[in-house]
């Protein structure tokens, strides 16, 4: 009996694993990671960026408003830490 129950549980997990991309859980799968929206941060050409503050490499806060009137290049990179 225990063997059958364990086997059924494993089979159910196997089916869930196969079905993951097609379930509501799958919306966070492999293809969707680069498409997220920061609330209020959907910028358009010709419009001002919303105010935001980030930390520099020394941990000091940097406000985007500090660069008003200057040319700013924003890049987004994933970290490669292990």
């Amino acid at each position: 009996m225990g063997r059958v129950l364990a086997a059924v549980g494993i089979v159910l997990l196997f089916v869930l694993n196969l079905a993951l991309p097609y379930t509501p859980l799958g919306r966070r799968g492999s293809d969707t990671q680069l498409h997220f929206d920061v609330p209020g941060a959907r910028g358009e050409l010709g419009q001002l960026l919303p105010a935001f503050t980030l930390l520099d490499l020394e941990g000091s806060p940097v406000r985007i408003s500090d660069f008003r009137g200057k040319r700013v290049l924003l890049t987004f990179e994933r970290s490669i830490d292990w």
Partner: protein, 134 residues
Amino acid sequence: MKRSYLFLCWTCGVGFLLIGLWLCFAALQSRGPDAASILPFPLGPQGYYFVAFSGCALIAWGGCLVGAARGHGSRAIGTATAVGLVLAALFRMLFWFLGDLAWMGNVLRAEAAVLLLLALAFVWLRPARAAEPL
């Protein structure tokens, strides 16, 4: 001699189980929001992926040792290995869902599928109690 051997199996098994549980908990806890690492060194998602796998392997290994110490023989090996494989598959599904290892694509789900099939084989082919010892 045999008593000291069984004692060695039991103590090492329990130690491995505890360390494995700790590593699995650390991997789970690291993926939570605003979670501070409980490990003494900084790790990223890839590091915690391997921490989780090491934890699952230690749980399986510890389970085998404890089972051997309790005289359960090869049945304990099948059970403990199946538990470790299922845990490892669950962690792969979790990491796929969280998307931290999105660059791996569906490799995580493929690995989970293989691990679950192996776990199913270990459970299904496990000898009955009367069949001991192999």
